[in-house]
Structure formats: structure tokens, C-alpha cells
Amino acid sequence: MKAKIHVTLKQGILDPQGKAIEHALDSLGFKNAGNVRVGKYMEVDVNEADKAKADAAVKAMCEKLLANTIVEEYRYELMA
């Protein structure tokens, strides 16, 4: 299975890159853009046929290495 993983800073934690992009969008005239958050996107091939096992594995990867849960949150989807 393939995991598509997104890691971003938690809401409430200042994201200076997001803020810089937000200001750039604003100065380009995109007045409707707000709350820009920058994150990381990762794809991982998980050698598990069973979805529950793959899910548990990806969750453990995120908790242990891919995200620092003190400041970041993660979400992922699993594709066959």
C-alpha cells in the first residue's frame, strides 16, 4: 500500500513560512487568502496487504519519526 502523509505545524503555533506566503498572496491581490500553513508531504510504500496493519505501521512512523508531535500534527491516507 502507499501512504500519502501530510505533516504541518499545529494550529496555534506560529508558522513563519506560512505567514510570509500569506503576505505575498495578499500583496499579489489575493485578498481572499488567509491562514496559510506550510507543511511537508511524504509518500511511503508500505509492504503490507492488510489495511489495518498498514494503518498501524504508518501511524507509528508518524509518531516516532515523521512528525514531532510537540509542534506538528499529521494526517495520512492509504491507497491500494
Binding site: 513563519p16 513560512q17 511537508k40 519519526l65 514531532n68 510537540i70 509542534v71
Partner: protein, 240 residues
């Protein structure tokens, strides 16, 4: 004393630390490759600055799983002195040996300059050679030094005097303007509750020789040696 300096792929202040302990302070220094799992006979360990594993994913995130870090944790658990400088501090945070996490500098820039830092707690094994409240000029060089922790942890660190170094103005005022990177509470360096693991973003090894124009960082290393001598004495007294 026997000082271990850990070497990760991408460490680049390891030889500066070795130079200070060995050539300036006359101690025995052992360079410890990150694949090592035993730290026998060491009195203290330094995790040096640099860009371990290219800062991939997050600073220190991969280095913390290096084999040597298991041994460093054991060493710290037994009360051994561990000093993490810059990337070394980031590794200590990722490893959970110190609380909190590093964010990108508020300005998004890599900052390399001398800053003023106030010694808020001069009663630690890493700062005892300073006066309490002393202002020290010391260089920083990092892109991720914006320290963050949750309010509960911050309050407990404040209550336990674990915030050892704070960014300040040259005359010692801790103000938002004196904060180079957006760090919470102007934090430049913290110590664990047990008092044997210190992490700091500034680089004392870059200002520990008068010939370089500034030796105010040297007192960090002298404090450590002093503490180790004290420990040795205590150990001997227990033995006799």
C-alpha cells in the same frame, strides 16, 4: 578528565569542541562516531553543532536515532554531564532528553552573529564559573533556534530555574528586541530537572580563546570541569 565528543554525519563543530577541551584546557578527548554504542570511562559528553544528517526532515530528528544516542541516554540517566550545542541542543530535544522543540527562526533567516545572553542560573554544573545575572557575548549560528514548549512545561521550567540562558540586550535587559529568533521567553539554553543535561543554541566553543577576541564562552567548559572534579571527590569519599 575524559571528554567524549559525538560525531554525526554532518557535525561541523566537533573539532572546535575537541580543540577547546584538548588544546585550550588540556583534557583528554575522545571523538565518538555515531555508530558507537558504548561510552565507557567518559566523564562528560558533548553533542556538537552542525547539520547532522543534513537537517533532513527536522533538525536532529534522524541523529536522535543514531546508535550512540542510546548510550548517551544511559549516560545521562546515570547522571553523566551532557552538553548539547546548537545542533546538539536540537538533537537533545528530539531525543526527549530535554523538553520542547525547535521551530524555524521567526525571521526565516539563518542568523550568524554575536548576541548577548544572560546567565539566569549560575548554580548549574555548566554555568557555575559565571556570576548570576552575568551578560555574556557569544555567537549564534542557526536557522532553527526558535524554542517552543507548551505553557505547562514552560511554567515548570521557570519554577525550577531550568531556563539557564536567555537572550538579552548588552546591558542585560531581556526584551523582545533582544530576541534574535522568536524563541519562547527569550530562551537560549535550558537544563533538565536533574541538572546534568544542558542544551544551548549559542556556540561557547567559538569564543573560548582570548586570541580569537572573545573568551567568554570558556567558562561553560571550565564550569563542567569544576563540576566533574567535585563529582570525583564525592565519589572517592563514598568509596573510602
Amino acid at each position: 578528565m575524559k571528554i567524549g565528543v559525538a560525531v554525526f554525519p554532518g557535525s561541523n563543530c566537533d573539532h572546535d569542541c575537541r580543540h577547546i577541551f584538548k588544546d585550550v584546557l588540556g583534557q583528554y578527548v575522545e571523538m565518538i562516531w555515531h555508530k558507537e554504542t558504548l561510552l565507557a570511562g567518559l566523564d562528560a559528553i558533548v553533542l556538537p553543532g552542525g547539520f547532522s544528517y543534513g537537517d533532513y526532515l527536522r533538525t536532529g530528528a534522524i541523529a536522535r536515532f543514531s546508535p550512540v544516542m542510546g548510550a548517551v541516554k544511559e549516560f545521562a540517566k546515570k547522571g553523566g554531564l551532557v552538553l548539547g550545542i546548537c545542533n546538539g541542543f536540537q538533537i537533545l530535544l528530539e531525543a526527549g532528553l530535554l523538553p520542547g522543540a525547535m521551530l524555524r527562526n521567526k525571521s526565516l533567516h539563518f542568523i550568524c552573529k554575536d548576541v548577548s545572553v544572560k546567565v539566569e542560573n549560575a548554580a548549574t554544573s555548566f554555568t557555575s564559573a559565571y556570576e548570576s545575572g552575568q551578560v555574556v557575548k557569544i555567537p549564534i549560528a542557526h536557522a532553527d533556534g526558535n524554542y517552543y514548549t507548551d505553557p505547562v512545561t514552560l511554567a515548570s521550567m521557570q519554577a525550577n530555574a531550568q531556563i539557564v540562558l536567555r537572550y538579552c540586550t548588552p546591558d542585560g535587559k531581556v526584551t523582545p528586541e533582544a530576541n534574535p529568533n522568536g524563541s519562547l521567553d527569550n530562551i537560549a539554553g535550558i537544563i533538565n530537572a536533574e541538572g546534568n543535561v544542558l542544551g544551548m543554541m549559542p556556540h561557547p566553543e567559538r569564543c573560548a580563546e582570548a586570541v580569537l577576541g572573545n573568551d567568554e564562552g570558556k567558562l561553560i567548559f571550565l564550569s563542567m570541569l569544576e563540576a566533574l572534579r567535585g563529582n570525583k571527590k564525592e565519589l572517592k569519599m563514598v568509596g573510602t
